[in-house]
Symmetry: C2
Subunit: 95 residues, 2 copies
Amino acid sequence: MTQKPNDVIFIGNKPPMSYVLAIITAFSSNQKEVTLKARGQAITTTVDVAEITRNRFLKDLKVTKIAIGTAEMPPREGESKSRMVSTIEITLNKG
Amino acid sequence: MTQKPNDVIFIGNKPPMSYVLAIITAFSSNQKEVTLKARGQAITTTVDVAEITRNRFLKDLKVTKIAIGTAEMPPREGESKSRMVSTIEITLNKG
């Protein structure tokens, strides 16, 4: 199986541990780098997930990049304007 | 008045615009660098505050540093164990 150089995991509103497990799985199948991406309220979960993974499970992981940004979301049902939402990307590397 | 080289603003649960105003005030009194610090749910607010300030008000601001970490919080009333909470620091620089 060919390995992608960088695996991307989108963080949503599942419990943090399910994302932690996804990261551990990615690294244990020889992935060198995993990027977590999230927007809105899931930003806090993303930081939690990165910290739990590094502190409790994969202590050799390094945070090699953190980027923040803004994305435009289409208007919700019944609204006319699109909304701006903050985004985050955290890249973890096992070196 | 002597200017501190780096002003720190702690982000909590006030509306984002009140922190945006605090940042604008700091930079307009000749501050070169402002660091936003937060923990827990306020992490998302912190990213919002940084993005709103940069996109709408002070377009020459650069994000020069983003760091994440974990802090230990004392146990709440009626609990016996301390809790771990994620933290973020975002440094804005006007160059």
